[in-house]
């Protein structure tokens, strides 16, 4: 943790310093180890899903899109494998957002900002762009040297820079390209894009996403996490003393000195730590911080400094995990000679898990019991009821029928309420008297004007409930809804 600094040791800050500070460029060094391997694996998985998912096919029958994941804006439909959602079902997305948010909280209470370190798109793409940079320009030292010699541009250097930006732009372009494929039939759109037949908005979105990917992953990098992203601030308020954060275990690190000196000092019985002050943890850090200064806003918990330090520790023959996922409690316990404790079942993790289970359960339940035939009814407000010349009473309703299935349905409409009512759909000649039948085309809605008349000798005295039944003649599926029959 931070030790108090003696003001005398500090270089005074220049009062006339400019209002702004130039960015200190970070040159993360390559590293190998457990967490680096996890990061490679997750990167391959996430990018693989993102880039190739639009090409997965899913047969929904003739006339329906056969793309597994498709956001069909013109027809207001969302397809996800066997799920097809209509605009009035957007509450599934609300549920999804709640689950996503609470999952983020849960991750945070278990392992700090592991989302940031391993799964956040900003991290994944920046990591990929760093890999390209390293591949073309070399590792940390070489890149720093080359940047210092910026004035002397050799042909080799120029071609290196050109190669890096070309690869970056290609990745960025593919990123934007994959994005638009989620909104239209992918193979067709690819063909249209290549033959310049695709709609203008497709090109525009590819352009926008190419530009943002290139800028955010190529240039902004850790600044996005530090200055733009709200999550570091929010997570700082959500975390607690049990969350596992990437931690420098100063209880076994101080005081820092070289291997040789440490041996000498130990011989004299002095207290020395395992840290040899080699700065490897700082060199590999993609946000350019020194984790030994304690938890910091900039740290995205990527674990790369753990790998770096583990490598050093195994070289000098000290136990690994001088830097590791740990919490403050354990540092103090070890200092007191007690064994570290970890606790994952806590009030907040239990509550978060319960919320995820509840919302997820509701979503699965509603999805499983979702009806493919729906009816909504709206009573005419003006006039509420009409008296006809023979003294019968008529109410008019706007009926909206939804056929969410992949085939046309023949529908019969009944009304339960007034005795012996006459039911008429405007524009339809009923074949069966008083039981209008109509066809609703597959995957569509129909709006009908329905007139219900109570005969003069059976006039209801006051308003009575009326129940509408919509029956699929072929399958016998029934959907119902209730409204009122109003007496004048």
């Amino acid at each position: 943790m931070n030790k108090a600094v003696n003001p005398k040791d500090l270089t005074p800050v220049d009062d006339n310093a400019p209002l702004y500070a130039a960015r200190k460029k970070v040159y993360p060094q390559s590293v190998s180890g457990t967490f680096r391997r996890i990061k490679w694996g997750l990167m391959a998985f996430c990018l693989g899903v993102y880039y190739f998912l639009p090409f997965v096919r899913w047969n929904r029958g003739l006339g329906a899109p056969s793309q597994a994941v498709l956001i069909d804006l013109p027809n207001s439909r969302f397809y996800f494998f066997f799920i097809e959602l209509w605009p009035q079902e957007v509450y599934y997305f609300t549920g999804l957002l709640i689950v996503a948010a609470v999952a983020l909280f849960l991750m945070n209470s278990v392992g700090g900002r592991i989302w940031c370190g391993y799964l956040c798109p900003q991290t994944v793409w920046t990591d990929l762009f760093y890999a390209v940079e390293r591949f073309v320009e070399g590792d940390r030292r070489e890149r720093m040297r080359k940047d210092k010699q910026a004035g002397s541009l050799t042909l080799k250097r120029v071609s290196e820079i050109a190669a890096k930006h070309t690869i970056w732009l290609m990745i960025a372009w593919w990123t934007g390209g994959a994005w638009v494929l989620y909104f239209s039939d992918a193979p067709t759109l690819v063909k249209d894009l290549l033959t310049f037949q695709a709609p203008m908005v497709a090109y525009a979105w590819i352009g926008i996403l190419t530009a943002t990917t290139y800028l955010l992953a190529g240039y902004m990098r850790e600044q996005v996490c530090t200055y733009m992203c709200p999550w570091p601030r929010i997570q700082a308020a959500l975390t607690d003393e049990w969350a596992l954060n990437v931690t420098y275990r100063y209880d076994r690190g101080e005081k820092r000195t070289s291997v040789k000196k440490a041996a000498e000092l130990r011989a004299l019985g002095e207290q020395v730590g395992d840290c040899v002050d080699c700065y490897q943890c700082v060199a590999v850090c993609p946000t350019g911080i020194d984790i030994r200064n304690g938890p910091q806003l900039e740290c995205i918990q990527c674990g790369l400094c753990i790998d770096a330090c583990d490598n050093v520790m195994s070289k000098i023959g000290r136990p690994k995990r001088l830097i590791g996922y740990d919490n403050d409690i354990n540092i103090h316990r070890r200092q007191e000679g007690k064994a570290p404790i970890y606790r994952f079942v806590r009030a907040r993790t239990v509550v978060y898990s319960a919320i995820i289970a509840a919302v997820g359960g509701i979503m699965i339940y509603t999805l499983a019991t979702r009806s493919l035939l729906d009816v909504n009814v709206l009573h005419d407000r003006n006039p509420l009821a009409v008296k006809l010349s023979d003294g019968s009473i008529r109410n008019a309703y706007t009926v909206r029928l939804l056929n969410k299935s992949g085939y046309d349905r023949v529908i019969a409409i009944d009304a339960d309420g007034p005795v012996n009512p006459t039911i008429h759909v405007v524009g339809v000649d009923s074949v069966t008297p008083d039981r209008p039948m109509i066809v609703i085309p597959r995957d569509s809605t129909s709006e009908l004007r329905l007139l219900v008349t109570a005969p003069a000798d059976n006039n209801p005295e006051k308003s009575i409930p009326v129940r509408f039944h919509v029956t699929d003649i072929g399958l016998g599926v029934v959907a119902s809804t209730t409204d009122n029959f109003v007496a004048p």
Binding site: Y20, L388, S389, G427
Partner: protein, 291 residues
């Protein structure tokens, strides 16, 4: 400015701004350069916007901006586009027959939507926004039609009106039997009670039904027909049903018979284009009143 800048925070080693609230001091952390550049760019953008777009208020108007942009002109263009998009559909409305429009769900929906807005603009002042009518203004949701409730009859009434002055208008009116001295007051009372009896309404004590029937046969049958069933050719209402345009009280009937009635329905031909009138006819018919 004092020399408070020289104060240095002992934990971070940074200078403070000298601002202090409840013992908490603010560090003087410089902003990132790119951030400051973006900030200046927004200022430049705002000023440019101010010059390029109409923005500066003058006393009775405003500056028009470099390119004379106007959102009103935009609206005009959008409306023209809309007309273009709707052109085909409205053309289909104009050519299809009334019956075909009602049979085609897409055309019916279009006609109903169009008819509803036009009705709201032109007809609602008399007939009410839901066409429920009022005293003297027919309810278009019911099945009682002075001039006929088929699609074609409704269309004709909308086109030419009733007593509207149009050459093809519906003519015919309820005569003022009292004012013109055709019937004496006691005869009017008697025939009013007779008319009430036609639709099963109670009659005044001691009224002479035979006399009423005779007066009716002599004066009213010509228009209202045998038994008072009405005549749509003349716009003469059916007196046997349960629907009364002006009300069925004895006093109202006496007034009607004494002074006559001659409500006016304006002709819409010439004021609205044919496709719109068609849409309105379909809309009114679909309200449920059609026959």
């Amino acid at each position: 400015m004092t020399d408070h800048h020289s104060e240095i925070d002992s934990v971070t080693g940074r200078a403070t701004t000298g601002h202090e609230w409840d013992g908490i001091k603010e560090l003087n952390t410089p902003l990132p350069r790119w951030w400051v550049i973006c900030f200046y760019l927004t200022i430049v953008w705002a000023i440019a916007y101010w010059v390029v777009y109409p923005a500066w208020p003058l006393i009775s108007s405003n500056t028009t901006g470099l390119f004379g942009y106007s959102s009103r002109a935009d609206v005009a263009v959008e409306l023209a586009n809309l007309e273009k998009i709707r052109g085909d559909k409205m053309a289909a409305l104009a050519t299809a027959s009334l019956a075909d429009i009602e049979k085609d769900p897409a055309l019916l929906a279009l006609a109903r939507a169009k008819g509803k807005t036009v009705f709201g603009d032109n007809c609602a002042p008399c007939h009410g926004s839901g066409a429920a009518g009022a005293k003297g203004f027919p309810n278009l949701n019911d099945d009682d039609w002075l001039w006929g409730g088929t699609l074609d009859q409704i269309m004709q009434t909308i086109q030419f009106g009733a007593r509207s002055g149009h050459a093809k208008t519906h003519e015919g009116q309820m005569l003022a039997f009292g004012k013109d001295g055709v019937l004496k007051p006691d005869e009017i009372v008697t025939v009013a009670n007779y008319v009430r009896s036609l639709s099963g309404l109670p009659t005044r004590n001691g009224y002479d039904a035979a006399k009423g029937e005779k007066i009716f046969a002599d004066n009213c049958v010509a228009c209202h027909g045998d038994g008072g069933k009405g005549n749509q050719e003349l716009g003469a209402p059916n007196l046997t049903d349960k629907i009364w345009l002006y009300g069925s009280d004895e006093a109202v009937l006496i007034e009607t018979i004494t002074n006559g009635r001659a409500g006016v329905m304006p002709a819409w031909e010439g004021r609205l284009d044919p496709a719109t009138i068609k849409a309105m006819a379909v809309y009114v018919h679909s309200l449920g009143g059609g026959k």
